[in-house]
């Protein structure tokens, strides 16, 4: 353990241990306080805030700093308990902590909804879930990595089934099956590497040269295992069912950060652990392919949803796809020996990873606030909520603009870098990259246009227009802690976009450190530069200033040309309905708004049904297996144990015949026995 930087402050690794400790203690305390529910909410929330602040400090400090390690002997002789904080895991620690902080603030009010349904265990699972994620991203030993990975999956499984209704339990079961199928693939990948190196330490994996076919097998296994966690298509099927079932602040954590651990794993294995054995070009193309497919299909499926949380969950699939586009270009860059491409690709992916955590967390919290008031997830029963819940509406709008990659917000900046990475790859010498990357860019553009449509629909149908809810009069803004949670993330969306000239070089450093190549120029003054200024330049602060300044022009025009006399504006009667009396069924609904897309992209929807049929078949097969086991288990009882028990009982019953209850008969037995024994002895 390295020495403390300052006698008072702890170094990042010590701070991380403090953070994990606080989360674990907070979880246990919340469980023990089970009966006193308000106290449990408070303890779990305060522990979340303290732990998250410590984690945030630790993560931010290790973004640019040196690598910190921690190593103690564990009860298992083959696996030391090793932690490692490098810039990439520092980024993940910071992202996890940021979301944990916001959800902890949000939970003070939100969890009151669950009083009487076991808030103690909820605080326990939530805090353990965060602690497990912090340990997964920092553990540096395959055995402990798997242990914490399982702990993370289990804690989140219990959050998914928290509502205990039929839908939640069946979604949880599917999640459980897919998560464990993924773990098996990851374990197999680690065992293959351990087989070559003879150790479970990542440090030895990192320097070992793994021979050619084995390294590709390891990569594909890890990609599938972590891909199932990340929710890439076609391994996504659990995601749109499990995320909506969990309580909304848990959904924010699952969608915002847990699926990023899938991406983290792919980069960890493909770039960090297999770094010494030189990745092949097709790995990057493979990642690019799945990224492009996931991004387009994720948003196409999201458009057809009218359950707000399912819609957001499908958008997570889309954004994982976008992150993988960046990562794919980075891996191509490493394979063809172009450090500029590697840094540009990885930094685009990492930047989007951070951004997606922020705006998806925000959108899930916004959805949670709406559900908190309306008690429904169905968008068709919402509408016009902006009047009753102005702060929720404004935060959700900022999140919607950010996820649609609207300049100058954060989603746009990371997508811009991803486009620039794809463009740079299209100019490279590799023919495969020259063909693949422009196609991926087109997919990304299509994704962007569909995302705009989807979020116009989401915001519009929930917050705009006439209300379709009969209880509209009673609806008011959510309590202050929930507003503060959302406002923090909304501010982060704006800040990460406008302060891109500061953030981008940090992301570049993380990318360069992860890929092991030199840093490139990513910003100068208030300009963003993708490696070289000839390729393109962008300045989000200037775009923001110009947008504000240009808005003055139409206002001046209005003021200058307005007539005098009557008031310039007034609220009129009902909207024009071609002469008919307007009623609440006339305005567009979530379904009718997306109907053209459902019509034009019909083949993609039928493909989803075929795909999910495959998974449903797997789940059915598993359920069949369980049922068979259930039938078979009594058979063991009936056919082997029961006859033995029955036989013994029969013998006992027969023996009862000689138990007369009269002590003289027992004396007679003793005499007979003595005579028999004597006779035997004498003979």
């Amino acid at each position: 353990m390295s020495a403390a930087v300052h006698p008072f402050w702890l170094d990042p690794m010590q701070m991380l241990l403090v953070s994990v400790g606080v989360f674990l203690l907070g979880g246990l305390a919340s469980l023990l306080l089970g009966g006193r529910e308000r106290a449990a909410i408070r303890v779990s929330g305060v522990a979340g805030i303290v732990g998250a602040l410590a984690g945030l400090w630790s993560g931010c400090r290790s973004l640019v700093g040196p690598v910190h390690g921690f190593d103690i002997a564990s009860p298992f002789p083959f696996a030391h308990f090793v932690l490692r904080l490098d810039p990439f895991s520092g980024l993940l620690v910071a992202v996890i902590s940021l979301l944990a902080l916001v959800t902890a603030i949000y939970s003070f009010a939100y969890v009151r909804e669950y009083i009487g349904r076991g808030v103690g265990p909820m605080g326990f699972f939530l805090n353990f879930f965060v602690a497990a994620m912090l340990l997964v991203v920092t553990s540096d030993n395959a055995f402990w990595f798997i242990v914490f990975f399982e702990m993370m999956s289990l804690a989140s499984y219990f959050l998914v089934i928290f509502d205990q209704n039929q839908e939640a339990v069946s979604a949880g079961f599917l999640y459980f099956v897919v998560a464990h199928a993924g773990s098996v693939a990851i374990m197999a990948a680690f065992f293959l590497m351990a087989n070559v190196t003879g150790s479970f330490d990542f440090a030895t994996f990192r320097v070992a040269t793994i021979p050619s076919p084995v390294n590709s097998i390891v990569f594909v296994l890890a990609f599938l295992g972590f891909g199932a966690k990340a929710g890439i298509i076609p391994l996504h099927i659990w995601l749109p069912r499990a995320h909506p079932a969990a309580p909304s602040h848990a959904s924010a954590l699952m969608s915002g950060v847990m699926i990023k651990i899938g991406v983290f794993g792919i980069v960890k294995v493909g770039v960090d652990l297999l770094g010494a054995s030189n990745g092949e070009l097709w790995w990057g193309l493979w990642v690019l392919f799945f990224g492009a497919i996931s991004s387009v299909l994720g948003v196409v499926y999201a458009l057809a949803e009218h359950d707000i949380k399912k819609l957001l969950a499908y958008h997570s699939v889309e954004n994982i796809g976008i992150i993988l586009l960046g990562v794919g270009v980075g891996m191509i860059g490493l394979a063809i020996g172009s450090p500029v491409l590697a840094v540009l690709g990885f930094m685009g992916g990492f930047y989007h990873l951070l951004n997606h955590a922020v705006f998806k967390g925000l959108l899930f919290l916004g959805a949670g606030s709406v559900i908190y008031r309306l008690h429904t997830k169905d968008m068709e029963k919402m509408g016009g909520l902006a009047r009753a819940m102005p702060w929720t509406a404004l935060s959700f709008l900022i999140g919607a603009l950010a996820i649609s990659a609207i300049p100058p917000l954060n989603g746009f900046v990371s997508e811009w870098y991803t486009y620039q990475a794809l463009f740079a790859a299209a100019l490279s010498d590799s023919w495969a990259a020259r063909i693949a990357t422009p196609i991926a860019a087109v997919m990304l553009a299509l994704t962007g246009a569909l995302a705009v449509m989807c979020f116009v629909k989401a915001y519009g149908v929930i917050f705009s227009g006439p209300s379709r809810n009969p209880h509209m009069a009673e609806i008011r803004e959510v309590p202050r802690p929930m507003v503060v949670g959302m406002a923090l993330l909304a501010a982060a969306c704006v800040a990460l976009g406008l302060a891109a000239p500061i953030v981008a070089p940090i992301m570049g450093k993380i990318a360069a450190a992860t890929a092991g190549v030199p840093q490139i120029t990513l910003a100068s003054g208030i300009m963003l530069i993708p490696g070289n200024a000839h390729q393109a330049v962008l300045s989000t602060p200037l775009v923001a200033i110009l947008l504000l300044a240009m808005a003055v022009l139409p206002l001046v025009l209005k003021a200058a040309l307005t007539g005098t006399g009557r008031p310039a504006s007034r609220r009129g009667a009902a909207p024009w309905a071609a002469g008919y009396l307007p009623d609440s069924h006339m305005p567009v609904t979530a379904a009718s708004f997306a109907q053209p897309i459902r019509m034009f992209f019909r083949p993609l929807y039928s493909m989803r049904n075929d795909l999910s049929r495959g998974w449903v078949w797997l789940a059915c097969a598993f359920e069949g297996f369980v049922a068979w086991a259930r039938r078979t288990e009594p058979r063991w009882d009936n056919e082997i144990i029961a006859p033995v028990v029955d036989g013994t009982e029969n013998v006992g019953r027969r023996l009862q015949a000689i138990q007369g209850g009269d002590f003289r008969i027992y004396c007679l037995y003793i005499v007979v026995a003595l005579v028999v024994l004597l006779a035997l002895a004498v003979r």
């Binding site: 116009v456 393109a536 022009l553 206002l555």
Partner: protein, 313 residues
Amino acid sequence: MFPDLAHFALAILQAILVLLAAPLVSGMSRVIRAKMHTRQGPGLLQDYRDLVKLMQRQDVWPPDAGWVFRAMPVILMATLLVIATGIPMFTRFSPNSVCGDLITTIYLFALARFFLGLSGIDSGSSYAGIGSSRELTVGVLVEPTMLLSLFVAALLAGSTDLGTISSAIAAGRCHSIMAAVIAGVAFAFAIYVELGVLPYDMAEAEQELQEGPLTEYSGRSLAILKWSLALKQTIVVGWFIGLFLPFGAAVSLSPAALVLGFLAFAAKLLVIFAVVGVVSNSVARTRFRFMPRHSWAGVGVASLAFVFYLVGL
């Protein structure tokens, strides 16, 4: 490069000139339509008179409309003006290159479209809602063609900066002339769809949807909105001219070159709008459900440009 003061002044000047010219351009379409119908029709300046007249009228909002509905015309115009600063129109370089990247321009158009679409739902009118659904759907369908054709042009120039593409094409500095020409054709198709005129008049179809997202606007807001839509038409055509027909545009900031560049731009703009006017008045509206056939054809042409780029013909 970060724009210096001279470039910045040119950028603002360009945006304001385009804004002032926009009603003239839309007025010209009306004149051409009247001529083709052999009727007298309005004068060339009729759209200016209409705007001034609308500005005097009262703004009436539907009862359910929120601030999005009210703010949309201003947001739309402001966004379009920012786009206008970054596109090379009178020059072969972008006057405001930090907003003049092809990705930034496409996504700024998305910002405009986001609020235009949202206002349709916010108005509470069913026609406006369907209009905004169509507006966004057309945006989805045309996006692949637009991006791929621009991407090919950018690959030819080695940069996504609009000014660099413009000067590369003007100087013939690209290794595949055919690819540039075909990309230009595909981009022209995408631009034509973005103009929102027949046969692709989907979102604001008067006869079908009572002008779609415009249905509930009136008075000052309608004036700003109509002006913005004319501005958008002028900007997208200016975008096409700047990238694929940059001939005659200024290469430096000298006043003489700028004036010549401006005149050349005005001439090209008028010719293109005359052609658009003739085409749009001689066709019928495409049925909305057949729109994908047309847009896939556009993607096909753009892909052809990409293939030509790859083989380097």
